[in-house]
Amino acid sequence: MIAFFRFALPGLAGLTLIYVLIGVYARSLARERLEKAWEDPKTGAASCLTREEFIAQGMRAYKHSLRRKLLVLVYIVPVGVVAILVYVMNYR
């Protein structure tokens, strides 16, 4: 059991690091999308907002978007892979 925790706890710490890094990256991508959208006369100038307001509003929307929530997969996929590996290696 101790061996399992010695694997699981550093593993979770590693996944958290990856989660944070990908989270920062994804937020940066969302911001760039908004910057580009503001420069587009159809979406940006038409919104009657300043550039800062436009981006802030978009980032608030991003916070609750499905795209951001999918980041949880960073935790789910590796845990699932390990579970499948344990099954395939030992019980099949």
């Binding site: 059991m1 101790i2 399992f4 010695r6 694997f7 990256y25 940066s28 760039e32 910057e35 290696m89």
Partner: protein
């Protein structure tokens, strides 16, 4: 300086390839000739043996399962059969006793050979007295059965994708967070374009 650089890069590449070659699974087509259980005194080669089970005392020696085989090319190969448990490498192998039983069940002689595919990782080295660790065993049609290493194909592709992703992550961070600090400007607006200009000045060409 050029030689030093390339020696260093070459050394890194050798270490990386060696590490992957040791850790990733490989398949041998073999005929099992016997199994045994031997007491091993670990010395300087202990890094090539499994670490003791969690909670067990750190002893200098331990009983280890072995599987003796003949390869299709007539050369012998001996595998150890140890649990990796939750340690490194991450095979999560907990069923060494079961594997030993299966291997013993598949023992065959020269006159009536039964060929199996032995999945393993690790190296056999006579000087260091180290053995590859058997992971699983499967009966195959014959000594020239073809095994496609799907796991390695997928794993290496994913590894490449991960490396490229980390590179992109870093380039983006530099581009959007570090570069703007070294450019003068009234605000953060247009950091993207200024970054482009910065690299244009530095590299003499317009980078994306």
């Amino acid at each position: 300086m050029k030689y030093a650089k390339w020696t260093f890069i070459g050394l890194l590449a050798v270490i990386l390839i060696g590490f992957l070659h040791y850790t990733l699974p490989q398949h041998d087509i073999v005929r099992i000739v016997g199994t045994e259980n031997r007491r091993i005194d670990f010395g300087e080669n202990s890094i090539f043996w499994a670490s003791p089970a969690g909670g067990a005392a750190q002893m200098g020696n331990r009983d280890v399962f072995f599987i003796q085989t003949q390869r299709a090319n007539g050369k012998p190969m001996v595998y150890r059969n140890e649990d990796t448990g939750w340690g490194w490498p991450p095979y999560f192998k907990l069923d060494s006793s079961n594997l030993q039983t299966m291997a013993q069940d598949l023992v065959s002689n020269k006159a009536d050979p039964l060929w199996v595919s032995m999945t393993h990782y690790g190296w056999r080295n006579e000087w260091l007295s180290i053995y590859p660790n058997a992971v699983s065993v499967k009966v195959v049609s014959g000594p020239d059965a073809r095994i496609i290493p799907w796991f390695n194909i997928v794993f290496l592709i994913l590894l490449l994708v991960a490396v490229l992703f980390v590179r992109r992550l870093w380039l983006r961070f530099r581009h959007r967070s570090i570069d703007p600090m070294f450019n003068d400007g009234p605000s953060d607006d247009g950091a993207h374009r200024r970054g482009k200009r910065f690299w244009g000045r530095m590299g003499g060409k317009n980078r994306k």
